[in-house]
Symmetry: C2
Subunit: 307 residues, 2 copies
């Protein structure tokens, strides 16, 4: 069987809206390849290509892809099997008005630094002067059609979107709440490498091909009502929350962690809150998008699958 491919050339969105129209429809269980362009749509190809402001359209997300039988209240499981670099260089940029240290006089914006890809496919690195950074690809933007509001692909929220989370990578699985029939998945904005925080406003932005398997989980089979994205890594479950401030995002992510712990162990919320204060903990995804994203890791030792 030929693995179906969905390309950004067929369709890509710059806004997650409640009424997205699919460019492709697949069955639950489909193994799919998704081609993405870089977050800046190829506009930055050398150090002299600088961005005077954040482009009006950014983080093109390939899709939307409808998954048959996904209905509001269900959960869309996206298993990330591979992320292949589709260019021989990434790029890091600073942009005036964007980034953690925006306004700091010692920081120069706009500036661009191309990061060439070296090595063979088993051990790719990107270079930055004398530094060789192992490629650890991240899907920056991944989401579904939201419930009621619309969100550009620059921001994250309960539907996913620009989550910029290093754990959204090869071998891990993202669970997204389904708000609209078909879910309407879209993704893009990959990085060859990114720090937790994405402080300067980008990682090493790069076009990629992503292999995923999509599966619809009946909402009735879930131990909790999933309201926001959840990531499964090798050793932890991590609810993700995005909000205006890190404090607010921490509260939401912690509340979701408490719900998961309470559902599994029969704890009341206070007991689950206490346990959340002992194991795993809060992690920063990104601080720049401009809504910020936090995750609350719970090691699998203390939590099994809620699905």
């Amino acid at each position: 069987m030929i693995r179906p491919t969905v390309s950004h050339e067929t369709g890509a969105i710059y806004e997650f809206t409640p009424d997205l129209e699919a460019i492709e429809t697949v069955e639950s269980g489909t193994e799919l390849t998704i081609d993405t362009r870089d977050s800046l749509d190829g506009a930055v190809q050398s150090d002299s290509d600088v961005l005077e402001s954040v482009p009006e359209e950014v983080n093109a997300a390939t899709g939307p892809i409808a998954v048959s039988d996904a209905e509001p209240g269900d959960v869309l499981r996206v298993e990330i099997e591979a992320i292949r670099l589709a260019e021989d260089h990434g790029r890091v940029v600073t942009i005036d008005g964007f980034g953690l240290l925006d306004g700091d006089e010692a920081i120069d914006a706009p500036r661009t630094r191309m990061t060439p890809v070296d090595g063979d496919s088993d051990e790719h690195t990107i270079s930055f002067d004398d530094l060789e950074v192992p490629v650890a690809p991240v899907i920056g933007t991944i989401g579904v059609a939201p419930d009621a509001e619309s969100y550009t692909t620059l921001v994250p929220h309960d539907h996913g979107g620009n989550l910029d989370t290093t754990d959204i990578t090869v071998g891990n699985t993202v669970y997204l709440p389904v708000f609209q029939s078909g879910a309407m998945l879209a993704m893009g904005d990959c990085k060859a490498a990114m720090a937790d925080g994405e402080m300067c406003g980008t990682g090493a932005e790069i076009a990629c091909e992503i292999d995923v398997t999509l599966e619809v989980i009946d909402g009735d089979d879930a131990a909790v009502d999933l309201e926001r994205p959840l990531v499964e890594t090798d050793d932890a479950w991590k609810p993700l929350a995005s909000a205006e401030t890190l404090e607010e995002a921490c509260k939401l992510a912690n509340r979701d962690a408490i719900s998961l712990l309470a559902a599994e162990h029969g704890f009341d919320d206070t007991e689950a809150y206490m346990v959340s204060s002992l194991v795993g903990g809060l992690e920063i995804s990104q601080v720049v998008d401009p809504l910020v994203t936090v995750r609350n890791a719970i090691p699998k030792t203390y939590l099994s699958s809620p699905f």
Copy 2:
């Protein structure tokens, strides 16, 4: 040679002030054992011992210990060799007016949960209902006499204090800026286990004996002027910053990471900022103290010792 011991019974402080007086003076290079009591001074010994409010005196820090020849501008190196539990139980508490979810109607405060220590000394665990959590001890409060302001042991700042950072543990090394002659080190507030974030306001608070080696580093030998605490783990350097908001703490920690990267690689600040956005990243220490603490990890692959 008998290893000198400093006990909380000889002296402990509840406030880091610029004019601390030492209860003990040691030479640079001294291997020392420091006995600490639990952060709540033994007031909580059963689930029925609840705290109506945050005690006026909390986080007793054993000391101050003067280190000969430490002068303002120097750096105090604190290598943590062992942390032994000195009680057979820890305790987790919620307190009205304290904690990430303070005011949440589903969270009950005050409440106390004792966490008995099980297993032998090689594989201690604490139990919380059916959960067994491996002991991973943390020194919650560690600091020196500050420059000009005074800080109770409830809050963290540039002098250290209530940093509540999981990386301040066995095998790691804390570097503190010296602001006053003798440095005036004090520490306490240990936890048998704690999540990044310390969301409910405590870990499993417990009395401990801590083995450290203290060493004075001449400030002139440092690649950067250390303004805030820095932690060295097996594989990373992590500047720590505390501030009113997580956003502000992120900025300070990132700025310190940039200084370290720039000093090592000859980067300008913008290049170092870009690299900080590619490797390691921002981590949450605690969100409750009520100043909050963030660290910016830089893997040792990209950074050697600044001292």
